[in-house]
Every structure is written in C-alpha cells, then in structure tokens.
C-alpha cells in the first residue's frame, strides 16, 4: 500500500471507529465523544497555525468565540435559522482572523504570542462590555426550538453525535488534504526554516496570513458548532483559559500531526474526567502529564505513534 493509501486508511479508519462508537459505547461516552469531536475541530484549527506553520497563538479563544457569538447573536437578535446563523458564525471568525492576521503578523515569535493574547483579551472584554446583548459572563441559552437544523433535531443524543461526527469528518479529511498539499508543505517549510522558504521565492507573509485565516475560521466553526449542539453562548469561551486548552490538546496529542488534535482532546478529557473523581487537584495531574510528555515525548502521543508504529504519519 502506498503511503497515501496508508494515510487515507488511517483517517477513514478513525472515522469508521468514531461512527461505530455511537453503537457500541455506553450513552455517557457517546455524549462525551460528541463534545470531544467538536473540541477536536477547535484543536485542528490551532494545529494548522501552531503545528504546521510554527506560529504560536495564545489567543485562539477569540476565533472560537467569534463563531459562537456569530451564530448565537444572529439567532437571538436577527431571528435567522440555524444554517444562515452558522454561516454568520463562520464569517465572523473569518473576518476576525483576517483583521488579526493583518495586524499580528507584523510581529514574530514571542511578540506574536503576546499580540494574539492581547487581541483575545480585547475580544473577551468587548463581550463583557456589550453585556446588554451578550449577557456578558453569564451568557445566554439557545432554546431547543431555535436549534433545529432544518427538520433535524440536534438536541437529541443521536442528532448531536452525528452532526458533530459529520463536521469532524469534513474537517479531518480537509485538514489531511490540506497538509499533504503543496500549500501544506509550504507551511511546513515556513515552520522549519522561514528564511530558506523566503529565499526559495515563497511569499512567506501571504502564506502565514492564509494560515491564520484558515486556522481562525476552523476554530470559529468549532465555536458555532458548540453553541448549536450544546445550546449555550458565554464569555467563558472567550477567556484566556480557552486559548490555553487547545494548545495543551495539540501538545499532548502531537503538534503537526493530523490525528494529534483528536488524541489530545480525548486524552485530556478522560484524564480530567477520571482524575476529578479522586481529587480536586486534577489540573495538577493534567499538568504533570503534560510535563512528563514534554520531557519524554516532546512530539506528543501521535509523535510516539510515528516513531514506534506509523513512520508515515502525516
């Protein structure tokens, strides 16, 4: 089998496994997987920028929130149905990512991290400032009737799972195709040696901007999806905590690996889920896991898999 064939087999195998999970897993884990798949889309968004382009954003929550509020506010105040609201959510994240990209890419390295962090904090405070509309830190509920996808009820367990699965499938396959394309390879070239890529004639700034836009938009898809499937829109998702979490997921799962985001989210989710049953210091356990992985497996779980099992892992 060719490498491309192996890669496709792996990705479709994962999707088949996720599909089967709905039928074989207990109900709680089916619900948990719905959430994991949505958050994995968010992590995919960050992975494009951080894992493949080498740009570390500490403010990705702003894109997630843009998608979430784009969908939520348009349903609440414009009375639009789910599909156009979803479009508005994605558009909001895309526009924001263009603006942030144009400004933040004037900086590099640590400055880029700080600028993205500050932009995210600004968005967070904007959400609080316009509390009359956003209900600030409290947030607001999207009622069940407002969340009908045409005639499909996404608030049922099956509805939620299959919408999350569908969206994740599209994102994973598109993401895999992107990183294996010449465009994806140019992003990796920029990550590995920006000067060399520039000397080879690539418009590095343009590629970085495209990476920010794609990354921010995908994160916005996750935010809109979260609001749609779980019925809540709140400022917590614009806070710095939700910028750090996808970074942890990507680092744990494997930065620059297509399956890293899903592995990272699932690992972190179940680590916290299990450890919180025994101690309130579960974040300490999560932190220790991250430190241990960073020390002994700096390329994350997917990196281990690549070293030990699948050397062709994209």
């Amino acid at each position: 089998m060719t490498v491309a064939g192996k890669i496709n087999t792996l990705h479709f195998g994962i999707l088949l496994f996720l599909l089967a999970c709905f039928f074989i897993l207990p109900a709680y884990h089916v619900g948990a997987l719905s959430r994991i798949m949505v958050l994995a889309i968010y992590a995919i968004g960050l992975n494009i920028l951080f894992g493949y382009t080498g740009l570390l954003s500490l403010g990705h929550a702003m894109f997630f929130a843009a998608g979430m509020y784009g969908l939520g506010l348009s349903i609440k105040f414009l009375g639009v149905s789910v599909i156009p609201a979803f479009g508005i959510g994605i558009l909001s994240a895309a526009v924001l990512s263009v603006l942030v990209g144009l400004l933040a890419l004037r900086t590099v390295g640590v400055s880029f991290m700080i600028v993205t962090l500050m932009f995210a904090q600004t968005i967070y405070l904007v959400v609080l400032y316009f509390g009359e509309y956003t209900r600030g830190d409290e947030g607001f509920v999207l009622q069940q009737a407002e969340r009908m996808l045409l005639n499909f009820d996404v608030t049922t367990e099956a509805g939620r799972y299959f919408v999350a699965f569908g969206a994740f499938s599209i994102c994973l396959i598109s993401f895999a195709a992107l990183v294996q394309s010449s465009f994806g390879k140019r992003l990796v070239a920029i990550r590995e040696n920006e000067e060399r890529a520039r000397m080879l004639g690539y418009d590095v700034w343009r590629y970085k901007l495209l990476a920010v836009i794609i990354s921010g938009t995908v994160s916005g898809v996750a935010g809109a999806l979260y609001a749609l499937l779980f019925g809540y829109v709140g400022a917590t998702f614009a806070s710095v905590q939700y910028s750090i979490l996808p970074l942890l997921w990507v680092l744990l799962g494997g930065a620059g690996k297509t399956i890293g985001p899903l592995i990272g989210v699932a690992f972190m989710f179940y680590l916290i889920d299990a450890s919180s049953a025994y101690t309130s210091a579960y974040m300490l356990i999560a932190g220790l896991a991250l430190v241990i992985l960073t020390m002994f497996a700096p390329r994350g779980i997917a990196g281990i898999l690549q070293a030990k099992v699948w050397p062709w892992l994209p």
């Binding site: 509390g131 600030g136 409290e138 779980f230």
Partner: protein, 433 residues
C-alpha cells in the same frame, strides 16, 4: 507493500456473527444508547441526588460550604427516614465553576450515576450553561444560584430555584429601606459584568419607585485591581453608595474607599456577596463599621435567634460568627448556603408529594414542586418562611439588612416576602415536558 492473508484470518461470516452477538450482548446489558433504559429501582435503593459542586475555580469557597451544608442536610433527611422510606445518596461532581464542565457533570449524573435529580449550582454562568442539557436529559435541575435567570424565563421547565431568592427580588426589597433610612440620591459601584448589570438595572427601577434616583453608575472592569481613580467620579450630592463588588479585589476596594473618604463619607450599603467567606473583622475592613449590608441569612447570631436557626447553625458546623467550629478563621458563605439545605428539603417534600419511585416520576416531581406555595419557617426552612411561585419556578422569602456594629453584623431591618415580589415574567407550566 502487500497484505498477507493467513489461515487464521476471521471469515466475513464469522466477523458478522461476532458483531451481531456483541451488539446483542451490549443491547441486553443496556449499553447501547437506544436501549438505555432505567432499571426500576428497588424500594430500598437509595435516591441519588447529583450535587454539581464548585470544588475548583472561582466558586471554590462557596462550593466547600455548599458541600458542608448539603452533607448536613442529607444526614438529617436520612436520620429521619430518608425520602419515601429510601435513603438518600449524594453523588458529587466538580464542575470547575465552568459552564462546559457543568453540562458534562449533568451528563454524568444522568448517564453514569443514574441520579434522580441534579442540584446545587450557584454561579449563574454554570447554571445557564448546564440548564439546556438538563432539559435535554429530562433531569430535574434544582439550582441554588440567586440569579434572575430562572424567573426571567431564559431557562426551561426542568430548572427550578425553590431554596433561595433571586437577585431581582433581593434588590427590589432593599430599595424602600435605603430610600427611607439612608438617602434618596444613590451612586452605584458595581462590577462591569452581568451580576453587576442586574443590580444596576433592577435597583435603578426600584429606587425610582421609592422616589429616589441613581445619580451615578460606576462600572468597574472585572480585571481592575485598584479603585482609587474611580472615587472622584462619585457626585458630591451622593447620599448613599451602593456597592456590590465581588472577587479577590474586594478588600482593596474597601480599603481604598476608606482612604478616599476618611471619616466623612456618605452612607454605605452593600451586598454581603462581596464578603462571603471573608471575616468582617479582617484587617482593612474597619472602614465598614456602621455601614449596611444585605444578607440572605444573618451570619452572626442575633438576639432573637430562632430554634430552627440554632439547630441549623449547629448542623452545618458554624459558630456564632458564621465561621467553622473547627477553625474560626474559616468563615462560611452563610448568607447563601442555607439555600442548599432548604432546596434539599423541597426536593424531599416534592418527592413525597409525588410518591416518587424513580426517573419515570420526574415530571410528577416537577409538577409537585410547581404546586407548592407557602412554606412556613421551620427546621426545613430555617432562613424563614418562603413562598414558591410555580409558574416562574422561583421562591420568594424575607431579606435581612444588617449594620456593622462594633464588628458584628446586627440585623436592622427584615424585608418581608411581599417586599420582594414582582410581576411574573414567564409561565413554565405552559411548557411541555
């Protein structure tokens, strides 16, 4: 690369047979979502109440005392025969004071622990983030939040607040006392987020109804750590400062306000939310002497302490100043945590009225609670008499205004249930289950 086949390879027929047997076994064991049914509880099986606890995150101080109160209430209920003759078991899940984890906790209550109801949430964003899941899971969700979100109609029929009054009722009932005793020209200082905005909006209307006015509204950004620069914005004509700052910067806020005004200050009225779990005699709070506070339940023992309050205080392990009996420095969240005690007693009364046997009776439980109205002061309701509004799923009760007198919170005024009533904004009973 080629794929090798071996004689040991499983044939397609065998694989399909295996899958079929496996699926059948899963279905019969109740593991497949579609086949997930509730096994009828035996009459002696415990009733499980899922406690959504703020064990970590910004609400941890509240969570610890909500936990202590819940434990004490359940012990009392079990000591008196449980509910419908069945023992009650608390299943605790930490929500991290986070709306996403709050919703996950409800999923665990329903799908992992087979809880009968969920209860105990305080912070509004966690309630609002969790409530949609409660409705989807058809899990009765009894919150102890004091937010207006339940009575505002934002939530759903599965979410109820029968054990603590909401912020709108609290604010409305404070306005007459402030206007008649402290002054009619009020400057409000509040955190610039939803909690502060609720106070701003509800109090502005309420004080105007009493012939007073809010002369300035000073919103403090949530990230602020120093407050001195805001105080010059307080108009000279101000007779009362109404403050509801919360969070770790409260001590700085009070200290800097004291330094700004010195001995000549307007009257001060605040909500004890600012100082829950903080000793009123903490260094830096001397400036609060002779100022007024709203309290949901008086932290310090009063001269006219009722027997119910005395028993409740001992049961939750608090001394005369509302601190832990084991550690006087460990101050409780006394003004709010009674809500857990009273909510659990409402759940008990509701389940007994509905002859609750298991999750199939959840709707009967909700209807039984909706049918409740007056709840007299008793050990079930040690904070005082209550009146539940089944349409809005919100309880109303008396409120306390205390004055700091020589380091003690002394109740100056008790607002009645009627003082806190307002027009219904929703009728949840018209919503289907």
């Amino acid at each position: 690369m080629t794929i090798k086949t071996t004689k040991n390879a499983v044939s397609r027929r065998k694989a399909l047979l295996g899958l079929g047997v496996g699926a059948g076994a899963l279905a019969t064991s109740g593991l497949m979502p579609g086949a997930m049914g509730f096994a009828q509880a035996q009459s002696s099986a415990p009733i499980k109440i899922g406690f959504q606890k703020h064990a970590t995150g910004i609400g941890a101080a509240y969570g610890r005392w909500y936990d202590a109160t819940t434990t004490a209430a359940i012990q009392r209920i079990n000591d008196s025969g449980g509910i419908n003759g069945r023992p009650v078991e608390i299943v605790t899940e930490d929500d991290g004071t986070d709306p996403s984890r709050g919703a996950e906790a409800l999923e665990k209550f329903e799908k992992l622990h087979s809880c009968d109801v969920a209860f105990g949430t305080l912070f509004s964003h966690v309630v609002i983030g969790s409530a949609p899941r409660a409705a989807e899971l058809k899990l009765p969700y009894f919150v102890v939040s004091e937010g207006h979100h339940v009575a505002s109609g934002m939530l759903n029929r599965y979410t109820l607040q029968p054990g603590i009054t909401d912020v709108k009722s609290q604010v409305v009932s404070m306005a007459p006392f402030i206007a008649n005793n402290l002054g009619k020209k009020v400057t409000m200082i509040f955190p610039d987020f939803a909690f502060g905005h609720d106070h701003r909006d509800f109090f502005t209307q309420a004080i105007e109804a009493q012939g007073g006015e809010v002369v300035a509204k000073i919103a403090i950004p949530p990230t602020e750590t120093s407050f001195t620069r805001y105080f010059p914005s307080i108009p000279r004509e101000t007779e009362v400062i109404y403050h509801v700052m919360v969070g770790p910067a409260v001590l700085t806020f009070v200290k800097e306000m004291g330094e700004f005004f010195g001995p000549s200050r307007p009257e001060l009225f605040g909500f004890i939310d600012s100082l829950e779990a903080v000793g009123i005699d903490s260094p830096g709070l001397e400036f609060l002497e002779s100022t007024y506070f709203w309290e949901g339940m008086p932290r310090h023992v009063q001269d006219n302490q009722s027997e119910a309050e005395k028993t409740y205080r001992a049961a939750v392990g608090c001394d005369d100043r509302g601190a832990s009996l084991d550690d006087p420095a460990d101050v409780s969240t006394y003004a709010h945590m009674f809500g857990c005690w009273e909510t659990l007693n409402v759940i008990k009364a509701g389940m007994e009225a509905a002859d609750y046997q298991g999750p199939q009776d959840r709707t009967k439980l909700i209807e039984a609670v909706e049918a409740m109205s007056d709840m007299p002061e008793s050990l079930d309701h040690p904070q005082g008499a209550k009146r539940f509004n089944g349409k809005t799923h919100q309880v109303f009760g008396q409120q306390f205004i205390s004055k700091v007198t020589e380091g003690k919170m002394v109740v100056e005024h008790v607002a009645t249930i009627e003082d806190g009533l307002y027009e219904d904004e929703v009728d949840y009973t018209t919503q289907s289950f």
